[in-house]
Point group: C2
Chain length 767, copies 2
């Protein structure tokens, strides 16, 4: 028994208690555990083991502590209340920056009752193994808490290095390059002024060789597509319009010449294009035929007598629309139905000069400004009409289909479908960049919102005390932390896709095309909802343009629509999955899918064991095996049931196009499910290759948060299937909240790990 009267100690006071010192030092732990409902079965064993191995405890003390660990017979509320009073009355400070804050706190509290007693260092094992953080408990005691803004064990630079991967050099030098007044962000309202500035930025990037990054060395490039993607993402930190205009000029226009053209085109145009000396646009979309590229109406008719091609807009809704760079360009890659000798050979691309050296629009061409948009007002989008515009035969980009000297059409790819999809396949790199750009927007928004939440205080329980940081609100953590986790997962998933896309050992890219279509959809949607959440999380401040969130929101919005509308892409992805990636990508895909469905229908899924669907311990819920199993089960089950439904319709005579229309929502669900599985799978592979166990652990925790959050988002489906039971669903939701709270001390490091250069983070609220 400790003395009932005692001498005042420095800053703390002696108080009376009937507990022995051994037990007393455990009190803060037990209070935290029981007042917070923190214990699951596996966690009880952690505490038990620590007590067992604590040599400083007597058998009697151990017995007492074991008694308090019985979930079936928990300590009385009154007992827990006494613990709290004991802790509060000790007036010991809680110092968050201590290596083991709760252990140190407990020791100092013991000291308050027994000056000079030995510290029980053994306690720290509970703290380490339960993973409890000051933000789990610092509010539970009425004691002074000594915060420090960053008490994380992690260094953002290490995370940044992991994210940069093999292209660290390019990224580092590019970040420095961006520290230039021409790239400083400010509010732009007038589109003409804005567009001219963005044009200057693009020209400088071209001049400095950044436009050529992904091109072969002979055109001044580095043949570095991943580096290009990183640069594209970084341009989002500067300005969304810049990123998009950069992508149009070097990715779409230049890319179409490189990939659809042949040596004569390369030699004539590429050098000027990658330097931004020849500005061009990519004229594919038409007003009347947004996502249906195969149905575009513009014609390119070969006229043998004049050896020319006449490009023409036949009807009132057949003009090109939303064409980026339309007002600044000298030339356009125009997608049109190629007609040779009266036969439609399908969609091909033709280079059409738009303006002369004086920048006057050429005869037969009409360009109209698309005007102001929700965002991206620094991009000059426009509509283009062609009235029998004549260009030389040589302007046909003829890698996949040519008009020979004798005026006949020839293509090595005999099947017109296959030819079309091969051409469109060249867009895939662009889709990875679009997703990467959207993700860059999310990174920027999260960085701003997290920094604001770490500076902003609001409400508390008394007027005298300091208000709480809004980052400490559970609802605020739930808003931002799963989005941070998702950003990490998608970053690595896109890196992995890019590597596979470039891998020459995989010549058939159909599978990657399908995968990228799905990832582009879920990631651009994710980016939009994340940025919106960040805007709301910053309240009125988030609404002001000066804080960047508003522009990020409006710029990224259209990423869900361009380079393939998400809804359309997900359906293509689902058809790919159904046909085991053997169908032509982008095809209507009915025939090939149906053919495959004939044979491969079998539900290989094992029945879910009820024990499994009710397993709720932390170890299981945090285990990547569980996450992978859940995602894989969902994809396979959705595939099987979808195939069954389609087959059933077909058998009854429902036309195949209609059958697919009937299962449209099912197709979308499958496309999403597959993409989430893929992203997590790729992320998990990356985690396993991180050598530093400390950082691997952190990344795995982010992975678990992503996975559990995703399962929670689709818990309706998992519950309906009986894959998880009601209790497991609740446990998953609670684990999501718990993980957000565990990651709270590292939240700033996590956003700093995105590596956005300081000169880009100009939002006043992020200072």
């Amino acid at each position: 028994m400790i003395e009932k009267t005692a001498l005042p100690q420095s800053k703390s006071i002696m108080i009376t208690t009937d507990y022995s010192l051994g037990v007393l030092q455990y009190i803060p732990f037990f209070y935290v555990i029981w007042s917070d409902d923190l214990l699951s079965a596996s966690e009880i064993s952690v505490v038990k083991k620590t007590i067992e191995l604590d040599a400083s405890l007597s058998t009697q003390e151990k017995q007492q502590l074991y008694l308090w660990l019985d979930k079936g017979n928990p300590p009385e509320d009154e007992e827990i209340k006494t613990w709290k009073q004991l802790v509060s009355a000790s007036r010991v400070k809680l110092i968050e920056t201590d290596t083991h804050p709760l252990t140190s706190f407990s020791q100092r509290m013991g000291n308050a009752h027994c000056a000079g007693c030995e510290f029980n260092d053994h306690l720290k094992h509970i703290e380490i193994n339960l993973g409890i953080q000051p933000n789990h408990y610092n509010h539970l005691f009425d004691v002074e808490v000594v915060h420090e803004r960053t008490s994380s064990l992690y260094d953002p630079h290490n995370l940044d290095e992991i994210l940069k991967g093999s292209h660290a050099d390019i990224v580092d030098s590019f970040r420095k390059f961006l520290d230039n007044p021409l790239f400083s962000w400010h509010i732009q309202r007038d589109k003409e002024v804005y567009r001219n500035r963005v044009l200057k930025q693009v020209s400088l990037l071209g001049e400095k060789g950044y436009g050529a990054m992904a091109y072969p060395k002979e055109f001044g490039g580095k043949n570095d597509m991943p580096g290009y993607a990183s640069i594209f993402e970084h341009l989002m930190f500067v300005d969304g319009s810049l990123a998009v205009k950069f992508g149009v000029q070097f990715g779409l226009f230049g890319g179409s010449i490189q990939k659809l053209g042949t040596a004569k085109h390369h030699d004539l145009y590429l050098k000027d294009t990658v330097k931004a000396n020849l500005l061009g646009c990519f004229a594919m979309t038409e007003t009347g035929h947004g996502s249906n590229v195969r149905g575009i109406k513009t014609t390119a008719t070969y006229d043998a007598p004049s050896d020319s091609i006449f490009v023409h807009t036949p009807g009132k809704n057949d003009n090109k629309e939303y064409i980026g760079n339309a007002l600044h360009s000298k030339m356009a890659t125009v997608f049109a139905q190629l007609i040779v000798n009266g036969k439609n050979e399908g969609v091909h691309a033709v280079l059409v000069p738009l303006r002369n050296e004086k920048h006057e629009v050429l005869e037969g061409i009409t360009v109209e400004d698309n005007g102001y948009k929700l965002g991206l007002n620094g991009v000059d989008n426009g509509k283009i009409w062609f009235d029998q515009v004549r260009v030389p035969r040589a302007n046909l980009l003829d890698k996949y289909g040519e008009i020979r000297n004798d005026g006949s059409y020839f293509s090595k790819i005999k099947n017109p479908n296959k030819r079309f999809f091969t051409m469109l396949g060249t867009l895939v790199g662009g889709r990875i960049c679009v997703a990467r750009g959207a993700l860059g927007g999310a990174k920027m928004a999260l960085t701003i919102a997290v920094k604001y939440a770490l500076g902003r205080r609001q409400f508390n329980d008394s007027i005298k005390m300091q208000e709480d940081l809004i980052m400490d609100y559970p609802t605020h953590q739930l808003r931002l932390t799963p989005a941070v986790a998702g950003t990490y997962v998608y970053h690595f998933a896109l890196e992995a896709m890019m590597n596979q896309y470039r891998d020459p050992s995989v010549p058939d890219k159909r599978k990657i095309e399908t995968q990228v279509a799905g990832l582009k959809s879920i990631i651009t949607w994710f980016a939009n909802s994340t940025i919106q959440e960040c805007r709301e999380a910053c309240g009125g401040k988030g609404y002001l343009l000066e804080n960047r969130l508003a522009d990020l929101r409006t710029d990224v919005d259209i990423f869900t629509t361009f380079e393939g509308d998400n809804t359309v892409l997900l359906q293509l992805a689902a058809k790919g999955i159904l046909s085991d990636f053997k169908a032509e990508f982008n095809s209507a895909g009915f025939a090939s899918v149906l053919k495959l469905l004939q044979s491969q229908l079998s539900d290989k899924l094992t029945v879910i064991n009820p024990l499994y669907s009710n397993k709720v311990d932390a170890e299981h819920l945090y285990n990547p095996k569980f996450h992978m199993h859940a995602f894989n089960y969902r994809t396979r089950r959705l595939t099987y049931t979808l195939a069954m439904r389609i087959r059933s319709y077909i058998k009854k005579g429902v036309p195949s196009y209609q059958a697919f229309l009937k299962v449209q929502t099912h197709l979308l669900a499958l496309g999403k499910a597959y993409s989430v599985e893929l992203a997590y799978f790729e992320y998990h592979k990356v985690c396993q290759n991180v050598e530093d166990t400390k950082y691997r652990g952190l990344l795995e925790k982010l992975g678990a948060l992503y996975a559990l959050d995703q399962i929670h988002l689709d818990a309706i489906w998992f519950l309906e299937q009986g894959y998880i039971g009601g209790n497991k669903s609740k446990a998953i939701r609670q684990r999501v909240e718990r993980l957000c709270s565990e990651l709270r001390p590292h939240i700033e490091v996590l956003v700093d790990g995105f590596g956005i250069p300081e000169h880009c983070i100009t939002a006043p609220i992020a200072q």
Copy 2:
């Protein structure tokens, strides 16, 4: 048996079949039913009954038809296929505008096989009772479909009348009034130009008496708050900035004088205010204390010697911010801590002149433009600082607290808490308007998106046939139709709230304050997600400013934050529910809630019968009793479990503020659940009072769609609780899709029913 050879008939051809004529006429019905998996148990009985009562059928024919109704032993796929071929080969046209299109179609098909045979009119009962619509089946036959854009049975004017309710006169005349070039919409980029135009619009509205609408007659008003709310909503059709500036001038500034001031203030200021001759602002929010009004730092210190009040901004983050009308105002209602004789009497409002007649800012006052925002750039939001600004004692708005001639403070409401909440209660009318305005934005967006989807075609199964209307895609219907239903439900819920708010027989408005807080939150969120969905549903066109969706999106965005941040309001609502609406609204509410929790904890919920949780027939799922039961169950269950959790924390000694923080997500869930229940309850009451059964039926269908969609959105929770089983959850999802499809023919009537005047629907894509 019908002749196997026959004569060609007008436009149709004779084909051969082994079916008797009696059976033959049922074939299209059976094909639709079986190829579409349309039959549930209760629906089979509908078909059976029709067959039973069909006097034209022989017993043998009836037997044959009954056989085809056995769900356990459905017709073979080959049989169904034969039916389809039979239908297609008849080459009969399907005319959607027929009163009973499938019945007429069947009759004409019969005719094709037996010229001049009698029509079997009895079939129409299946069509009527199953509620099947042409869009359920017109794609199933390969026959020509004769569409007509509107084949709805309903007239939008009748819906509009129901929505306008008792204030039709004001609404109708106001709609005409808006047909004025000053109110025509066009793109605005420069904030100064934009603000000046909006100012002119507000001035005209004031001049014409619309600003006075809600005020007593002696100030030129009509004492018509519901009329005011309708006008406010209509201003959203013109421009979001106009609605907000109008609300600031007449609702907030004028409202504060009327409700917080006394006769001397009314006499001095109101007439000029409601005419917009005196422009004012409502200076409550501070940079550092957004949602925590009680914690604002601005002081209003009474100085007895000079009989004046000194208004002062003490610290750097204590300035007023986001104050609408800040740059145009002559005066502000400033909320500040009132200090009299050294004692802080809590937050009060003081009128402070800001500028002189020349519009120069007065001494001690600093106003700074808040600059450009995501939206609402026609509103001049600004920051305001006060440096010991002296105003006469009379400027204190002293209805609830006054400084007497002897320099002492006096209030009839002794409890400072109660005084504060009474003052804030005057904001409630404003919150109804905010929700109404957001909903107006949703109405506008839905009108544009639906009209676009009814004009736009995209994709199909062959290049030759006409492409499909995008409104006919199931995914598109799911995007827009539940939102249309939600808009109807929320419209009537807000009307009901407004009536209760004005009802003098309910003097205690605490319950309504709580309810409005919750509804404002869910409705402004609903409006934002609806507008975003509309933007995406219009693809690139939705991204162009000219089509209005972009501005609606950015204008309505901040409605989730202003007049009470949604997250904060939902927590207040939840505390109200917990305390059975007896706690002071807006209070931290811990004490009163806790007191009430002591007594009232009992789980009165009955256990859910497994038969009920697996009931999936249409009758049950469409029954409002089921919807009400589900919503009520959720609210009660969430209330009980929340109360249990809080009590448990408190008993263990967790400080009450922290206990509430721990259950924050639970509070939000309860706030939302209660609000949805309330909205549906009020809507259901309105439906029951609609006399015209045709329109009542339509509104009930919208109600069912809203309810099932809401249950589906929260199906995780209902599944976790065992309230619904997996099959019921699936059935609910299917019913949502089915209802969208059933409402498809009426979708244009439904949006036209919102009554947005044509001169406001200027978006080119809505033409």
